[in-house]
């Protein structure tokens, strides 16, 4: 594929992610932070985020499987997840976490389990999308182009 076409596709894709609310301005900020001095910054942050999130999701799942659920612990995990998703700009994941935390506060196991499913779904969604994004960027770089800056 032509580099120009690829670049346009990337720009469109990024915009669509922003419009759908999967990512927000924070992600763009992170993209801006990435420059010559720190080329791998975004990838590093995002992979950190994925690692952390998967661990946290496991922890949450484990905690909710317990005989007596300690909602405080769960809330702590979700808070962590919310913090990191806010940092990378995963808006919908963040919002799901907010909802999750309200269930934790209500101590509603049913709501928590439902929220967990939702959070997982959002997580895999954003992971998928961002990985696609990176793949496209790689393609562009491989095709000899440069990743276009948004805005």
């Amino acid at each position: 594929m032509e580099v120009g076409q690829l670049q346009r596709r990337l720009v469109d894709y990024t915009k669509s992610l922003l419009t759908e609310g999967i990512l927000d301005d924070q992600f763009s900020q992170l993209q801006k932070l990435q420059d010559e001095s720190d080329p791998g910054f975004l990838v590093e942050v995002v992979s950190l985020f994925f690692e952390d999130s998967e661990k946290l999701l496991n922890d949450i799942t484990g905690a909710l499987d317990q005989q007596s659920v300690d909602f405080k612990t769960v809330d702590g995990y979700v808070h962590q997840l919310k913090g990191s998703s806010a940092s990378v700009g995963a808006l919908r994941l963040k919002n799901a976490c907010v909802a999750f935390r309200s269930f934790c506060e209500e101590q509603s196991l049913e709501g928590c389990l439902r929220s967990l499913q939702e959070v997982k779904q959002e997580y895999y969604n954003v992971k998928n999308k961002v990985e696609t994004l990176f793949k496209m960027e790689k393609q562009i770089v491989a095709a000899g182009g440069s990743v276009p800056k948004t805005e």
């Binding site: 609310g21 301005d25 924070q26 590093e44 950190l48 690692e51 952390d52 990378v88």
Partner: protein, 1002 residues
């Protein structure tokens, strides 16, 4: 997160509520003892009843004593009278006895016989009213009985009227009063009583009495009185034997005691009330009744005894008096006591009622207070909610706006573009609104704090004017600003908020004004008073230039000639202000010490000639979301929150805002604000990129302003003066020329202008083209080196007019209003060709500014979340900072062990184990200890080498509103930044902080 915040907030509200309840529940005594009230009442009633009884008893006892006294005195009186009467009778009997002895025994033959005696006694009976009768019995010895019986012709009989048996001695009655004639020949010695009486009488020689008995005739109770009659005269102190031998006979009389007492009592008042008994108490164990009833009735409880002495020492008598009836109930005592009780009862009930009422009122009060606290809490909660929601809305709105901007960049049909632009405009309006709501909420929640930085007020006003210049020009309204010379150049305050107020007021004015002018005036509040004082004076001599404006119908001496709501800004007063300033300008410079007061109160007026505010709406102008009426918002748009925010801000600045408005005439909003004076040495630090320096290259130039409206001329002069230009004002072109001197002679009086600024109106209204002639004239006659530059001032100018002006001689330039010093300067530079010094470094954006601030700084980022840490580090690194990370409060503590070389620390607040607050507290403790150690150890040389350890710590938090800035400050933090980092926010936090620590920066 929003929910979490809300929860936390509720908690804090609840806690506050409890605290308030705790402190405000200052129970009064009554409130505290409310349960005791009925018992108090009961006790009171009992006390009252007791007291009433006491009173009753007291009064009753008094009564009884009086009654007893009365009884006693009555009784004694009766006894005395009885005794007196008795003794009178006894004396008479005595006299009778003497009579008998004198005439019966000493005369021989006897001068008395029965007949004589009866007659005598009958005739003297009035002297013995108590005696039913008297009789004389002769002593007859048994040996003489025969002789005696024979002599009298009858035998001696006993009381039973039988011939007497033989005895030693007899005492037969020989004389008797008629009433006692049945006694004749009866032997008195035969009756037991009489015998005893006779024996006792002759032994003592005194009158003796028998005990009471029923009298033979009347069946009344009576006593018999017996007196001895002696034959011979006795010696002075005869013995009993002598008395017995000398005894010749006995005079006796019967006392009818009953009728005696009856008569006596009948003579005395109050007889009915008393019951009188007379007793013979010779035998004290068995008193014999002499008068009264044996069985006792009447009031037994009270009696009085009086002794009676009837002259017989052997017999004892007494009188006992009683009341007939029992003591009557003492009605006065009873009523008094009862009334007292009733009054006491009423008082008690009133007190009780009052107590109950107090308790109720206090209960209500507490309830109200509680409700008030709740309402306030709800209000705060509302503000917080508003703030949170606004905050949450801002994020997606930014997305929408961004998208719209992107959309507008793409190729769109004109309709689509129109839609998109409309959407964007709406979005921007919404964001502006949300920001305002956020502001208001912040103010209400007490979260808004004013900065105190030095700023140039004039340049801020210029900036605001430039914001609205386009609009005002478009509408053709005059927009002008005037700052009094007395207002300090630099003041300390919050420029952003000050600008916000001015922008709001001017914005409103621009919105609602279609013609005329908008005039912003700033002066020191103290001047205002002087001005008002001077007003009367001005009015008196202000008539001289009054005729100037009467040409075009109604004209007012305001900026544009339109009428303004508040006349204070009209030329009459305004002139005075300027004159006042000029007068004081020299003096004030000398009086710099006077200006040393820390604060300066400024008064800002924004006057417009717009539609004004309807009278009915004037009192809710400052209420949020209130516009004059709903049609206003439809017509002009806007939410009406601006003024309420302005009001809050003005109040925060220690001032007041108010307005004068007349519908269809205009409004004048004026507010005061207190700023701190800026010390001179701080000026150097102030130069912020926002304030443009005015070029100083115009100093000393001279200019003439041609303007027929003095207010407008004064404003032009103000702007020129700021550039250092000396200004004269002429009302029209003729005067200008006159001022310059016809022949341009350089006398000191004449003014040699470098510039002539002509107001468009003056030029238009003046003789068209006349200027040209004058100019030519001038050119020729004046031997000047350089002609003054001609400059036209205009609010709006059409192309035709512009050409016209050019041809008329204004070749140089036209300055479009509103005037701003910097813009005027730029125009003049262009006209005069004075080279402008390149202003440098003014276009540095926040980003690069941040870079300059943060470059090379060593910064510690503390966050337990890896991702957050990495992002924060990345962001800070981008600005050239040297970032180190710590994943917990403990790790941060370890890294910040003194000495360290960190310049700042960004600290997450919510962390497990040790949160940001706790970590900060410990760091500060550590630093304090170290500082004390250093300061304590190094006394002399320490002053130079002294270094206060204080690493700046900024909190990182996701919820800026809720971050409780106070909490951050309390534990020793220096500020906070939102998370994820926003450039603007980061800039503000960092800039504020590094500025205040310039030494560490370098």
């Amino acid at each position: 997160m929003g929910l979490k915040m809300q929860q936390g907030h509720h908690h804090s509200v609840a806690v506050r509520l409890n605290e308030q309840m705790g402190t405000k529940r200052g129970y009064t005594f009554i409130q505290a003892n409310r349960a005791w009230l009925p018992k108090f009442l009961l006790l009171w009633i009992m006390v009252m009843a007791f007291l009433s009884t006491m009173i009753y008893n007291g009064m009753d006892a008094d009564n009884k004593v009086r009654r007893k006294d009365v009884l006693g005195s009555m009784c004694d009186q009766r006894a005395r009278m009885l005794q007196d009467q008795f003794s009178v009778s006894v004396n008479h009997v005595h006299a009778l006895a003497i009579l008998v002895s004198t005439f019966h025994y000493y005369k021989n033959p006897s001068a008395i016989d029965q007949e004589t005696f009866a007659e005598y006694t009958a005739r003297t009976a009035f002297e013995r009213p108590l005696l039913s009768g008297v009789a004389y019995a002769q002593r007859v010895v048994n040996s003489e009985r025969g002789n005696f019986e024979r002599k009298h012709g009858w035998t001696i009989k006993t009381m039973e009227r039988e011939p007497s048996s033989v005895r030693d001695e007899y005492a037969p009655v020989i004389f008797s009063q008629e009433s006692l004639s049945y006694l004749e020949s009866l032997d008195m010695m035969s009756g037991e009583e009489d015998r005893e009486n006779i024996l006792r009488a002759r032994a003592t020689g005194k009158a003796v009495l028998t005990s009471p008995f029923r009298l033979l005739g009347s069946h009344h109770l009576g006593v018999v009185l017996t007196f001895p009659v002696y034959k011979s005269k006795l010696s002075l102190s005869p013995t009993v034997q002598e008395r017995v031998e000398a005894t010749a006979g006995y005079v006796g009389g019967a006392f009818d005691v009953e009728s005696l007492v009856e008569n006596l009592l009948g003579q005395l008042a109050g007889n009915q009330a008393f019951l009188v008994n007379v007793y013979d108490v010779t035998n004290s164990s068995d008193p014999l009744i002499m008068y009264g009833h044996q069985y006792q009735d009447g009031d037994m409880s009270l009696s009085h005894e009086s002794k009676l002495d009837f002259g017989d020492p052997f017999r004892k008598h007494q009188m006992i008096c009683r009341y007939h009836q029992k003591a009557p109930m003492s009605w006065t005592a009873l009523t008094t006591a009862f009334l007292f009780f009733v009054i006491g009862l009423l008082v008690g009930y009133i007190l009780y009622g009052a107590g109950i009422h107090i308790v109720k009122v206090e209960d209500d009060f507490h309830e109200m207070e509680e409700l008030k606290v709740r309402a306030e809490a709800a209000d705060v909660a509302k503000s917080q909610f508003l703030a949170t929601v606004s905050h949450e809305i801002r994020t997606p709105m930014n997305g929408i706006l961004g998208m719209l901007a992107l959309l507008l960049d793409t190729e769109l049909s004109s309709t689509q573009r129109d839609y998109a632009q409309t959407a964007q405009a709406c979005g921007k309006a919404l964001i502006a609104l949300i920001n305002e709501v956020l502001d208001r909420a912040k103010i209400e929640a007490g979260k808004l704090e004013l900065e105190a930085v030095p700023f140039d007020l004039r340049s801020i006003l210029d900036d605001v004017l430039s914001l609205f210049s386009e609009k005002s020009r478009h509408k053709g309204i005059e927009l002008a600003v005037f700052v009094s010379d007395k207002v300090p150049e630099i003041v300390m305050g919050d420029p952003g908020r000050f600008r916000q107020i001015i922008t709001n007021l001017v914005g409103n004015s621009v919105k609602f004004t279609e013609r005329g002018h908008i005039f912003v005036k700033v002066h020191q509040a103290e001047n205002m008073k002087a001005m008002v004082n001077g007003k009367a004076e001005t009015c008196m001599n202000g008539g001289s230039d009054g005729g100037l404006f009467l040409s075009g119908g109604r004209q007012f001496k305001t900026l544009s000639g339109c009428e303004a709501a508040d006349e204070r800004n009209s030329w009459d007063t305004f002139k005075h202000l300027i004159a006042d300033e000029e007068f004081h300008s020299d003096a004030s410079r000398k009086m710099t010490t006077n200006e040393a007061s820390e604060h300066v109160m400024l008064m800002v007026c924004v006057e417009d000639t717009g539609i004004g505010i309807p009278l009915c709406a004037q009192d809710r102008v400052f209420t949020p979301f209130m516009q004059a009426d709903s049609s206003t918002s439809r017509h002009y748009g806007g939410t009406g929150i601006g003024l309420s925010i302005s009001k809050c801000l003005v109040e925060l600045m220690g001032g007041q805002i108010n307005f004068i408005s007349r519908p269809q005439v205009g409004s004048t909003f004026s507010f005061t604000a207190v700023f701190e004076r800026c010390r001179k040495n701080l000026h150097g630090d102030m130069k912020k990129p926002s304030s443009e320096d005015l070029p100083s290259s115009f100093r000393g130039l001279k200019a003439i302003v041609v303007d027929e409206k003095p207010v407008r001329a004064a404003i032009t002069r103000y702007h020129l003066k700021r550039l250092g230009i000396v200004v004269e004002v002429a009302s029209n072109i003729k005067n200008t020329i006159a001022m310059c001197g016809k022949n341009g002679s350089l006398t000191s009086r004449n003014f040699q202008p470098d510039l002539i600024l002509v107001e468009k109106d003056s030029w238009m209204s003046g003789e068209e083209g006349g200027l040209n002639v004058h100019l030519l004239d001038w050119k020729q006659s004046a031997n000047m080196f350089q002609l003054p530059k001609m400059i036209l001032l205009a609010t709006n100018i059409s192309d035709a007019e512009f050409d016209n002006a050019k041809s008329a001689g204004f070749a140089d330039t036209v300055i479009m209003k509103p005037l701003r010093a910097s813009m005027v300067a730029a125009c003049l530079q262009q006209v005069l060709g004075i080279g402008k010094k390149r202003q440098q470094g003014k276009d540095i954006s926040n980003g690069s500014f941040l870079q300059s601030l943060l470059f090379g700084k060593k910064i510690l980022v503390v966050d337990d979340n890896r991702v957050n840490r990495r992002v924060a580090a990345g962001a800070l690194k981008k600005f050239g900072a040297d970032v180190e990370c710590a994943e917990s409060g403990k790790a941060a503590l370890a890294l910040l062990q003194l000495p360290h070389n960190f310049d700042a620390c960004f600290m997450d607040i919510q962390m497990p184990e040790m949160d940001g607050f706790e970590a900060t507290r410990r760091i500060r403790l550590m630093e304090t200890n170290a500082n004390e150690l250093v300061n304590g150890g190094a006394t002399d040389e320490g002053i130079i080498g002294k270094r206060e350890w204080h690493v700046p710590i900024l909190a990182m938090t996701a919820d800026v509103i809720h971050a409780t800035y106070d909490e951050c400050l309390k534990c020793g933090m220096d500020g906070y930044v939102s998370k994820p980092f926003e450039e603007e926010n980061l800039y503000q936090a960092v800039a504020k902080f590094f500025k205040s620590k310039p030494m560490r920066n370098l």
